[in-house]
């Protein structure tokens, strides 16, 4: 645990290295961190920011882009920012022409909710744990808000990995000659919440890592996939996936009822 006792040469080198990673050293690390107070002797984490900026601004089409209003803090004003979603990283810029993001929100483990706020079309990105920051964002239209909520709640690496595993299993079953139906029979879904707020969770149960033996390239990888000793594809994983499917079904229903209500009130 990093504590007052860690005055080793390592610590000194750690502090001198950050200058390279931070093109704007005058800001200081403490001011760059949003949310939560760090302990007095806990050094800031290094991050390959130059690579992040490069990833954020690369030519490939992003998963979602658009202007959103971002609340500065609990009692702060909203700032209009240009948001770019790539994978499980939500970058935000001053404007679309900016060459470097103002910041990034790592989305892994977040949940996305509609919220009642002073701004219309508001939603929140929340994280589990004590004293974590909730990001309140507001879109400029109903459609944009729905698009963002959908995109963000499915942005996690964990979610993508689950879908890939599911397809991997389907392929394996097909190649083994088993017959696989197009889907599971839909279960009865619980009704959406009365207060109009529905929760979409991108959070998934921790799954043991299953090896993905797929190799990069246009050809599909050979099957069956090689698995690590710790991995287990069994009823538990299948149940998790069915549960996830149910959550998203719930999401669609909640959204539909929300649209219905908002249309009923001119």
């Amino acid at each position: 645990m990093a504590g007052p006792g860690s005055h080793s040469p390592d610590a000194a080198e750690l502090r001198s290295e950050p200058r390279e990673e931070h093109p704007r050293p005058e800001l200081g690390r403490g001011q760059e961190v949003s949310g939560g107070r760090r302990g007095p002797s806990l050094a800031a984490m290094k991050l390959n920011e130059r690579s992040l900026a490069s990833y954020a601004t690369c030519d490939a089409p992003a998963d979602n882009v658009g202007f959103l209003y971002k609340k500065g803090g609990r009692h702060a004003a909203y700032h209009r920012r240009w948001f770019v979603l790539r994978g499980n990283m939500l970058f935000y810029f001053e404007d679309p022409a900016s060459r470097e993001p103002v910041g990034v929100i790592v989305l892994e483990g977040c949940t996305v909710e509609l919220v009642e706020a002073s701004e219309e079309f508001a939603f929140a990105v929340r994280f589990a744990g004590a004293r974590t920051r909730t990001y309140v964002l507001a879109a400029e239209s109903q459609a944009a808000m729905e698009g963002w909520v959908k995109a963000l709640s499915r942005a996690s690496f964990d979610y993508l990995r689950l879908v890939v595993r599911e397809l991997e299993q389907q392929l394996a079953a097909m190649r083994a000659g088993g017959c696989l139906g197009p889907g599971r029979p839909p279960r009865a879904l619980p009704p959406p919440k009365e207060n109009g707020c529905a929760v979409w969770s991108a959070e998934l149960p921790a799954n043991p890592a299953a090896a993905s033996s797929s190799r990069p390239g246009p050809e599909p990888p050979p099957l069956p996939p090689r698995r690590r000793a710790s991995a287990s594809i069994g009823p538990l994983d299948v149940a998790s996936f069915a549960q996830l499917h149910e959550w998203y079904g719930q999401e669609v229903r909640a959204l539909r009822s929300q649209w219905g209500r908002s249309r009923a009130q001119p």
Binding site: M1, G35, Y55, V104, G109, T132, L167
Partner: protein, 149 residues
């Protein structure tokens, strides 16, 4: 660049795909080799001092290149500066193989490509889009047009 450090730290405590004590050398000229606990969680590589619970740093593994430099040494570099390399020394050639393979497949982008190829294959075999059952078949990020070799 601001980032949600708290959440990233929490992520570093999640179960890892792969974790080991390796020798690590930073990209700066004259960097010294140090023992680090290196932990792969989703598309992040966290590194810790061997006796500490909080990570010193993290590398986002998107648009990176993993190269086997020597039988038991690999490096990670990034597209925008391929000569700037983080070196990792393993205890065996086997361990080095294990890490290079895992890291090459660790990115979100790699996972996306895998999904697209599986989808395509299943669609060819069955005539049906397997993503429809998940309600995500229309998402731009899974379209073949976003495929990049």
């Amino acid at each position: 660049m601001r980032y949600n450090e708290k959440e990233l730290r929490a992520l570093s405590r999640q179960p890892a795909e792969l974790a080991a004590e390796l020798g690590m050398r930073g990209p700066k000229k004259g960097s010294v080799l140090k023992r680090r606990l290196v932990k792969l969680v989703v598309n992040f590589l966290f590194y810790f001092r061997t006796d500490e619970a909080e990570p010193i740093g993290a590398l986002l593994l998107e648009h990176c290149r993993v190269i086997k430099e020597e039988p038991s040494v690999f490096s990670i570099s990034f597209i925008e500066d391929p000569e700037r390399k983080y070196h990792f020394e393993c205890s065996s050639e086997e361990q080095c193989e294990q890490w290079t393979e895992a890291l090459r497949q660790a990115s979100y982008e790699f996972m996306r490509k895998t999904l697209i190829s599986y989808r395509n294959e299943i669609q060819k075999m069955t005539g049906k889009d397997p993503l429809e059952q998940f309600g995500i078949s229309e998402e731009a990020r899974f379209q073949l047009s976003s495929w990049k070799v």
